[in-house]
Amino acid sequence: MTETTPLLSVRNLSVAFGRQGENRTQVVHNVSFDIAPGEKLALVGESGSGKSVTAMSILRLHDPTQTHYPNGEVRFESRELLSLDDTAMRRIRGHDIAMIFQEPMTSLNPVYTIGDQLTEPLILHQSLGKEAARKRAIELLDRTGIIEPGQRIDAFPHMLSGGQRQRVMIAIALACSPKLLIADEPTTALDVTVQSQIIELLEDIQEEFGMAVMMITHDLNMVRRFAKRVCVMQNGQLVEQAELNALFDNPQHDYTRHLLNSRPTRIINEVNEQERAAWPVVLEAESIKCYFPVKAGFFRRKIGEVRAVDDVSLQLRAGETLGIVGESGSGKTTFGMCLLRLQACTGAIRFTDQDLQAISGKAMRPLRRHFQIVFQDPFSSLSPRMTVEQIISEGLKIHYPEQTAAQHRTRILQVLQEVGLDESMLWRYPHEFSGGQRQRIAIARAVVLEPKVIMLDEPTSALDVSVQKQVLELLAELQRKHGISYLFITHDLAVIRAMAHRIIVMKDGAIVEQGETGMLFNDPQQPYTRQLLKASLFREG
């Protein structure tokens, strides 16, 4: 890279939160980095590392009464941003530096059309007339890959899909041809195939407009694909800064190495297909169908149906992990719910030799012990008003009512130890734990009943990469020890490659392809599977 004057230069920036006079907590410590014009920089770190805070500080988007900058400077084209007055700062926001956010669902205002929101910066910063602004807005929508931009411009945000909304966000950001685009986890909330489309779009636009892009992300695949230079942050400090290849091939800092090693590797109990074929089948489902009627009109007549799960069959053997992969809306979670009889459906479900569809809800209750769930969001899956002990003991009280409280306590402590939590946590409430710890509690709640099958619904998607790996290792170990079968539902192919023996790929409620993990990854038969694999950024080109 040739030495040019940097577009943005951050020097010794520190950020502290808290009101004046109170104890302030410093969350960013002396961070320094530069961005050259047209450069693609990635800021990588786990949640709480201060990467978003740093980026937001560049635009001074924090609440000024709560935020304090003890030292440091942010120079943008030789102007000092931290001491700029509000009017001048507003001119820079949107005009010179634009930002796009993680959540396309909430970063667009639901009561205005996308046209209104897109023309606003044009009228504000470029003094365009209404007609000219609308024309330019349609061009921008067209450029960001919105089909039929002339009609779409009058749509409200809820009428667009997640990917389309993120395209609109990019169009808004591009409206004034900024010199720097800050993208805060722009693809995290999107499906893999949409993710790769958005990244491609960002790349194209970056080249076309010649702007610098600062990408904030936790996803190392994304970094490798997109960035030219990488800054790694940990606990508010910038621990390493290097060119992309140098960083991946020869990481200098311990934390960077730790991050790179956190990418899931195959940790499941490896057993070949023939051997597994001898294991007994615990759960068998035949042509499961789950249709939701679509009703309309005054009399709510049925005018059609959504085929959430359409004729899907599977066999799950004891001690085996079966991965169900698909994008959002593919019916994978609904299918899982059907198997656990938490969602009404047609088709046959057999548990060992019992026909689950034939027995009543009441007769099902004792069998429930054998089917447990671990959810994606560890914040909503634990009741906030129950202590850890109450949460874990609930199932014991139902399924082992004959045991005494002391016996339950012994069993709970044993399980807590197994999932790597400690005794003192029994009386605490879920909000006192981190995401990873909460997920361990959820796993403990499932495992304490010694179930035969656990349905894991995106169990690691809400967790940081290093925590993700620990949780996956815990799950693999529990399987080895207790021979539990996992039904592993995820969109994350890296995780499923590490965990599954067999994989089912679902799309629009039906199975597209299924097979052994190795076979499926090395030699996918269906075009959709190939597209999915390519999109999840394992392979370039």
Binding site: M337, L340, L342, M364, R365, P366, L367, R368, R369, F371, Q372, I373, F375, Q376, D377, S380, S381, L382, S383, P384, R385, M386, T387, E394, G395, I398, H399, A406, R409, T410, L413, E423, L426, W427, Y429, H431, A442, R445, L449
Partner: protein
């Protein structure tokens, strides 16, 4: 294998600690508790019958037993009027002695022996004066406070239980049941409450029980809506699905998982409901639709204060008692809300 561990932070202990941390609410609770406990023993504090009489070498308990005046050497066979100066003279003669309550009037005692016209201003005899019928204001305030608070507690309890149950069922069952119940609430809620009270007041003999029944019939709806909304939100949460997957029964899910997480509106509105109930009773009495006139009631005193605007001891004292009670209840409620929020330390 493991020794039984004592839970160092039981929920109630933690809640109590948080409650104490709110000084204002904590002090309010003490003041209110003392006042309320005292008022429960109103018969001993403020009564026209002596607590104990020692008359000619034997003890008498007029509080529990009625004695004719002849028992104390009087002229009549009717029950003794202990306020009669003649009777008092007899009871204090020689070795005889009497222990009177702190305030020697009952809420319905009429002081026939006052030197002032009624309503009489505060004096050594009637500490806060008398009302327009010559009844002691202090006695009526003590009994009125007790009645108002008890009335409010009962009304709130009924309203909360009915509201929570109705809201919980609607929210959890949803569907047709919810639809039907919602329409019923809309119809029920559009009935003119005040007119019904006026009508019922003219049909039936007005009484505290009738008021509780009538106000309860309408009081549960406001809360039911909030609880229903909380249940609707809660029943799709993952922890509820997890509980269902565990085989937890419906009513356990409702009461163990959903209810504790739906209590925010209940607890938030609790102090307001209690003070609202006190205000409801007071205003109905003020309008003359409430309890019968012999019952000690703050509203009736207020309405007397309005009629006799110069008799400041009527309106001012009642106003003081009302404001004091409502303020204490609000502060306690505020502290209670903070105490039950487990997210606080």
């Amino acid at each position: 294998m493991t020794k039984p561990v004592q839970n160092p932070n039981a929920f109630t202990q933690r809640a109590w600690r948080r409650f104490k941390a709110n000084r204002r609410g904590y002090v309010s609770l003490w003041i209110f508790a003392i006042l309320f406990v005292i008022s429960l023993f109103a018969e001993v504090i403020s009564n026209d019958k002596p607590l104990l009489v020692y008359y000619e070498s034997s003890f008498y308990f007029p509080l529990f037993k009625s004695y004719p005046e002849t028992a104390f050497g009087g002229d009549f066979d009717t029950e003794t009027d202990y306020l009669d100066p003649h009777v008092r003279k007899l009871l204090n003669k020689g070795d005889n002695w009497v222990i009177y309550p702190l305030n020697s009037y009952n809420y319905n005692t009429i002081n026939y022996f006052t030197l002032h016209p009624n309503p009489a201003p505060p004096s050594a005899e009637n500490l806060l004066g008398t009302d327009d019928r010559g009844r002691d204001v202090l006695a009526r305030l003590i009994y009125g406070f007790r009645l108002s608070v008890l009335f409010a507690f009962v009304l709130t309890l009924i309203g909360v239980v009915a509201g929570v149950v109705a809201g919980a069922l609607q929210g959890y069952l949803g569907g047709r049941f919810d639809l039907a119940a919602q329409r019923l609430i809309e119809i029920w809620g559009s009935m003119p409450e005040l007119y019904l009270l006026i009508i019922f007041a003219s049909i039936f003999q007005p009484s505290v029980l009738l008021l509780i029944i009538l106000l309860s019939l309408f009081g549960w709806m406001g809360l039911a809506d909030y609880v229903r909304a909380e249940f609707l939100r809660g029943r799709n949460m993952d922890y509820v699905t997890a509980a269902r997957a565990m085989g937890v029964s419906d009513h356990s899910i409702m009461f163990r998982h959903l209810l504790p997480n739906s209590l925010t509106p209940v607890i938030t509105f609790l102090p307001f409901r209690i003070s609202g109930a006190i205000m409801a009773l007071t205003s109905l009495d003020y309008l003359g639709l409430g309890v019968p006139p012999t019952t000690p009631s703050l509203g009736e005193l207020l309405s007397q204060g309005k009629e006799n605007i110069v008799a400041w001891w009527l309106s001012l004292t009642t106003f003081g008692v009302l404001v004091g009670t409502l303020m204490l209840l609000t502060f306690i409620g505020e502290a209670l809300r903070e105490a039950l929020d487990i997210r606080r330390g």
